[in-house]
């Protein structure tokens, strides 16, 4: 599974990254987590950061952040 966290670097974006890491760990699955900070890369998917892309599909965009459970759900649904 490929997970991308989209954010130019702000507290919300780092929180999103932490959330994803925690979700992946708690689910005990193999996933490559990548953080996209380049605007051009980000804007291929959305203009609302922080964003979450799983296997190339946008799953969350903007504020407020999803809950840990929601992130887990999204990951499970994609896996």
């Amino acid at each position: 599974m490929e997970i991308k966290v989209l954010g130019p670097g702000c507290p919300n974006c780092s929180m999103m990254e932490e959330l994803v890491k925690k979700a992946v760990k708690e689910l005990g699955i193999e996933a490559k987590i990548e953080k996209l900070t380049d605007l051009r890369e980000i804007m291929k998917y959305t203009m609302s950061t922080p964003g979450l892309v799983i296997n190339g599909k946008l799953k969350h965009a903007g504020k407020p952040l999803p809950s840990l459970d929601k992130v887990k759900e999204l990951i499970k649904a994609a896996g």
């Binding site: 954010g7 130019p8 670097g9 702000c10 919300n12 974006c13 605007l39 051009r40 980000i42 804007m43 291929k44 998917y45 959305t46 203009m47 609302s48 950061t49 922080p50 946008l58 799953k59 969350h60 965009a61 903007g62 504020k63 407020p64 809950s67």
Partner: protein
């Protein structure tokens, strides 16, 4: 009921002397704290539900076919209900430009968004009542519309960083679907999140307000900042520009100051300057705007806000 409750705590539980300054301050503190937290919870929740219907992608879609003027009005209104993280101000700006939304319309959006927000509205409503709140929202929108219109008329596109125009993803971003249950959950989380971030701030601010309420004489500020001092408004605005705070921190203090003689127009102008013009926002916008445009933006905002201050001092 709330009044009875705060009186009960002040006089029966804490056994403070009736009518003493300490008792007044404590009663004011308890009453306002409860009132504001109840209001905050209800209104943030409601606004969050409404906001979930207006993601930036939808706002972009709505604005992309609009001409100036109508576009400015819509942008200012959408600025109130579209949620966005300050970190996405840059991609948002680029997305708007890319969608062909005029620069002035984009600015109307960027101006109204921080100025008219749910926390400001709740605090104003809780402390000053609905009339002042309506006036604040109305003038906030007016400032956003006017500011955007002026920037649009000045044709300042050359002062937008060139790279902004090189984005041509050309795509209409997907709007993620949410069920109504998800919206409610999201609203609940958002409410808890905002309250967690501002509660201490608000309690401290109300505490200071309560202290001033109880101890500082009624007309303390009239001489310095009352309606008859012509410099009160510009000084308040100039003080407010470098200050950066969310509305939560500033309103209760301002409320107490107003009780001591600061006039309404001065208060509103100060609040607008604090919320609409902030250094961190400028630094973020610097990534897409060249300095002259930032300066024009700050200048127009300052002048408009000062004008609003004078207007209200004259008519209220």
């Amino acid at each position: 009921m709330l009044k009875v409750f705060s009186e009960y705590i002040t006089y029966n539980l804490l056994r403070l002397v009736h009518g003493s300054q300490l008792a007044n301050a404590v009663e004011f503190f308890i009453y306002d704290t409860i009132k504001i937290f109840v209001l905050l919870s209800v209104i943030i929740f409601t606004v969050s539900v409404i906001r979930s219907f207006f993601p930036p992608e939808k706002t972009k879609r709505i604005l992309s076919h609009k001409k100036e003027f109508i576009g400015n009005i819509l942008a200012a209104l959408l600025g109130i209900v579209t949620p966005f993280c300050s970190c996405s101000a840059v991609p948002l700006f680029i997305g708007f430009v890319e969608a062909g939304i005029p620069l002035g319309v984009t600015f109307s959006f960027l101006i109204s968004s921080p100025m008219v927000n749910e926390i400001a509205v709740v605090l104003l409503f809780g402390l000053f009542g609905w009339k002042v709140t309506a006036i604040y929202i109305g003038t906030g929108l007016l400032v956003a519309i006017l500011g955007g219109l002026i920037i649009g008329k000045l044709k300042l596109e050359r002062w937008v960083e060139e790279y902004v125009y090189t984005f041509h993803s050309g795509q209409d971003y997907e709007i993620l679907r949410q069920s109504f249950r998800e919206r409610l959950l999201y609203a609940r989380e958002n409410t808890a999140d905002i309250l967690k971030r501002v509660w201490l701030y608000i309690i401290i601010a109300i505490g200071i307000g309560g202290f001033i309420h109880g101890y500082v004489p009624q007309d303390f500020l009239v001489h310095y900042a009352g309606p008859r001092n012509p410099f009160a408004v510009p000084v308040a605005v100039l003080l407010g520009v470098p200050l950066y705070s969310n509305a939560a921190g500033i309103i209760p203090i301002v409320y107490a100051l107003m009780e001591k003689g600061l006039s309404m127009g001065t208060v509103l102008a100060f609040m607008m300057a604090v919320t609409a013009l902030s250094l961190p926002e400028m630094i973020i916008l610097r990534k897409v705007l060249k300095i002259p445009l930032l300066a024009v933006f700050a200048g127009i905002m300052t002048v408009t806000i000062i004008a609003v201050g004078y207007l209200f001092n004259a008519i209220l």
